[in-house]
Assembly symmetry: C2
Homo-oligomer: 198 residues x 2
Amino acid sequence: MAKESADVTRQRILHQCLPLFAAAGFDGVSMRQVATATGLTTAALYYHFPDKEQLFLAVVEDCFSQRVTPLMPGPKSPGDDPWAHLEAFVSAFVSLLVRVPSFQRLMQWVALDRDETRARQMTERVFEPFFLGVADLLPVTLGEEERHALTVSVMGLMVFPFETQVARQWLPGYKPPSQVSTQLVQHILKLLKAGVTG
Amino acid sequence: MAKESADVTRQRILHQCLPLFAAAGFDGVSMRQVATATGLTTAALYYHFPDKEQLFLAVVEDCFSQRVTPLMPGPKSPGDDPWAHLEAFVSAFVSLLVRVPSFQRLMQWVALDRDETRARQMTERVFEPFFLGVADLLPVTLGEEERHALTVSVMGLMVFPFETQVARQWLPGYKPPSQVSTQLVQHILKLLKAGVTG
DNA sequence: GTCTATACGTGGATAGAC
DNA sequence: GTCTATCCACGTATAGAC
């Protein structure tokens, strides 16, 4: 491996160890595994990142900002169909969860992290803009707490089917979300528009 | 510590290390920590459980079966309000998530486990009866796949607000689920009955 | 049943050569 | 920038006494 610029190597490390952390989480991946996956030694890794935690945070932040930011919809215009923006976003986000399983798994790991500092950092840099973007897609008439609750519900309806794939695979009526993503989007929108009874 | 029967000690271990595994997951807890928490030595732990994995599985299974089984509602009668059973169950389950945070966190950790054997075991012994019980609460007219999708949605609406507590705590409109559990239940039921526009 | 003592691997991290 | 070599703490797990 010829020497390459620090920036390039750093980015390469980030991309190549993403699947590892997505699969096994922070505690489940060793620096030696990361080294093997990137074709470097642990010593070289420590040249690019001060410690394992900073490496992990960099991986998460890189993945989130690259994937989520481009998804956020533009501002609403007054004349628009109030549902059109929401449907477009739900569709795009579900599509992301299907296309990039590592992203979805990483979200799950991050949600379990109870460290105050890391949680705050993650919220500010990636979760907050995402959350507020979704909240903006909802009807303007909602109060603050109602809007918050509904935002959580919309996110849960999109994410939870992916989080529970492994556990559901032997249950009646199961199809992998990747194979029924269109139906999933329609299911969510029907529920939001009119509830169970349609 | 006087000697006690193996059964009693075993049960005590299960209860005392539940909060540890709930907080940090399988990889985040060492046998030495479990030993400290239970007032035993690691050697004594290995007298009661063959290895760490079996200990963890026993903790999960004990917690789930103790908490979830008593929650499952009885069979529906023809004359009942179709929503009453569902509301009672949602209310009881949300109440469980509030009362026993360890249970909720353990669910999250288990959902991330990708080991086929463990996943299959967990599904058969605890998740399947739960899932089918929720599915039974839904309208009889639904097709199999539609029923499955809706079951996932109902579970997601209940669980996701708890899973995302840490990340949401600084966002506008946030109140801890434990302080707004009644509103959460009403929010979920309103959504299921009639969608966003109520 | 529980202890003390310990084997032995693997973890994160660093020093210093090139 | 990347390597080889290494330190040392901590992980799981066991042997054998009581």
